[in-house]
């Protein structure tokens, strides 16, 4: 049961649907207080002590459990993790007291340049070792377990002997991190790179997945682009149902980051996820 803590609603994120916390919805979320289970905010948007965004999140935090989702650490960067960035994540955790903290299985910088994108890793033993080590160090520094998310991919490395799900399972086992399963990313990558999306789900260890993401994508020629700019498609809903049947009811986020619609549209999408979670709970009861 969630309770009101020093920063607002505390306790674990419920196994229900949540929505992304976006600036265009700050006022509506305050005024309408829709019945969504929780909210997720991009950690980097709350790195600074001042600013209207931080104060808006503090207000929202009083009403909803919070997950902080990072996009900029690049934990798989062979050049290492930016300590200053990590310190800012730690400050954000102390300020907002999130119930979940997540990042991505990716890298982001080389030669001192940050690409500000979620770049893919080769699925090798060396990359398992590096990502697991840097995730472990980040967890020790932050004092929380991280959930690590699979990213959408448009290329594979010529030398990449492991399957992506083998890679993620090994990183989780070696670092102690949980996994954030982005079902849309699985679908997008499976179509772009030609693998079986259900095999991906089947290949992840039950008990390690702590959160699910759902989002829309766009078609660009033969490629699917993970743009978080539309409703979740039917094929992704079906894959979500398959995942929930395997992993059980889990906190599920509706992500919508471009062409952001009215808050009511996000809430309607979250209701659909809640229906599926309810059906799975009913079957399990």
């Amino acid at each position: 049961m969630a309770r009101l803590g020093s920063r607002g609603v505390s306790g674990p994120i419920p196994a229900s649907a949540g929505i992304g916390f976006r600036s265009v919805h700050h006022h509506a979320l305050d005024a309408e207080r829709p019945a969504v289970g929780w909210i997720e905010a991009h950690t980097e948007n709350y790195f600074h002590e001042g600013g209207a965004a931080g104060r808006a999140l503090e207000r929202a935090r009083a009403n909803y459990p919070l997950s902080l989702h990072g996009v900029g650490l690049g934990l798989g960067s062979a050049e290492g993790v930016d300590r200053e960035h990590l310190t800012r994540v730690k400050h954000a955790i102390a300020r907002f007291e999130p119930a979940l903290v997540s990042e991505h299985a990716c890298w982001g910088r080389a030669g001192g340049e940050f690409f500000n994108d979620l770049l893919p890793l080769p699925y090798t033993d060396e990359a398992v070792e590096l990502l697991a080590r840097q995730v472990g160090e980040a967890q020790d520094f932050l004092g929380v377990q991280l959930l690590i998310e699979n990213v959408s991919a448009y290329v594979t490395f010529e030398h990449s002997p492991l399957k992506e799900w083998e890679f993620l399972s090994a990183v989780s086992a070696n670092s102690g991190c949980g996994l954030l399963l982005d079902v849309n990313n699985v679908y997008v990558s499976s179509k772009n790179l030609g693998f079986d999306a259900q095999a991906f789900i089947d290949g992840l260890p039950p008990g390690r997945v702590g959160e699910i993401h759902l989002a829309g994508h766009a078609q660009s020629g033969a490629l699917l682009i993970d743009d978080h700019g539309s409703q979740v498609c039917e094929a992704v809903w079906e894959l979500y149902r398959y995942a929930v049947n395997r992993f059980g009811a889990l906190p599920t986020l509706i992500e919508w980051d471009t062409h952001i619609p009215a808050l009511s549209t996000l809430v309607a999408e979250s209701r659909r996820a809640d229906v599926i979670l309810g059906e799975v709970r009913g079957l399990a009861a």
């Binding site: 980097e44 790195f47 600074h48 002590e49 001042g50 600013g51 209207a52 104060r55 996009v71 900029g72 650490l73 690049g74 960067s77 062979a78 050049e79 930016d82 960035h85 800012r88 890298w107 982001g108 910088r109 080389a110 030669g111 001192g112 340049e113 940050f114 690409f115 500000n116 994108d117 770049l119 890793l121 080769p122 090798t124 060396e126 990359a127 590096l130 448009y154 290329v155 594979t156 490395f157 010529e158 030398h159 772009n192 490629l223 682009i225």
Partner: protein, 243 residues
């Protein structure tokens, strides 16, 4: 077999230069990543410099973003910092040209971006001055709000900024000449405001840590302007500490 560091270095090189080979399949899909990072960079720049973008137009702003990124690539995983060197870049590009004012306009907009994330402290009311004897007043040092940014230019950049809060605004007459002013956050609203020169000098001195008496002298305030300048910092909520 290439190491992970070598693979990432080759990937990065291929993102910077499409003619560089990289051991991925299919290589043509690298364009998605190339486009993603360029668009993220440009959108972050547009977010910090909306009026520069309006004045130069989308096409030239896109071109500037590409050139700026080549010279000043992102050095942070936090997109907020992407614009840090943009005013300096524009100065390098435009110094001596008829568009040199764009560098100062960018400096104003970067001040605004910085003010937006600065801590806001509780403002002190003017009656705190009553705690001090008259002969102590000139030695008082005011702590000003951390979000306060003071900007001066040889060009009318405040007029340009204020006139361009919507698309397709008419150009501002550059013969209006130099302007100075302040940027600060108040009640979750960013304020951009031109100031008279004496008030600007007074605020600059106070912000630099000068005691009140020195700030008044530095700004050349007379008895009349002193009263209004002293009142200004309190009525505008700019003073957050006194010592």
């Amino acid at each position: 077999m290439a190491s992970l560091r070598e693979m990432q270095g080759a990937f990065a090189a291929a993102l910077r230069d499409p003619s560089v080979a990289c051991a991925v399949l299919p290589p043509e899909n690298l364009s998605v990543y190339r486009n993603n990072s360029a668009v993220s960079f440009r959108m972050a720049l547009e977010s910090s410099f909306p009026v520069v973008r309006r004045r130069v137009g989308d096409d030239y702003f896109r071109q500037l973003s590409v050139q700026y990124r080549e010279r000043y690539p992102s050095r942070s995983g936090d997109l907020h910092w992407i614009g840090r060197d943009f005013p300096a870049f524009l100065l390098e590009e435009l110094h001596g040209s008829e568009y040199a004012w764009l560098a100062d306009l960018a400096r104003l907009e970067w001040s605004r971006a910085q003010a937006a994330i600065a801590k806001v402290e509780t403002s002190l009311p003017a009656d705190v001055l009553g705690r001090f004897a008259a002969d102590q007043l000139e030695r008082l040092v005011f702590g000003l709000q951390p979000s306060l940014r003071l900007v001066a230019s040889d060009f009318p950049i405040f007029s340009v900024w204020l006139a361009n809060q919507h698309e397709n605004a008419s150009p501002v007459d550059q013969s209006l000449g130099s302007e100075c002013g302040m940027v600060r956050m108040r009640s979750d609203v960013l304020e951009v405001r031109p100031l008279e020169a004496h008030l600007f000098s007074y605020l600059c001195a106070l912000q630099a840590g000068a005691p009140l008496g020195e700030a008044v002298s530095a700004a050349g305030l007379d008895q009349t302007t002193l009263v209004s300048a002293l009142g200004f910092v309190f009525t505008e909520g700019l003073v957050s500490s006194l010592r």
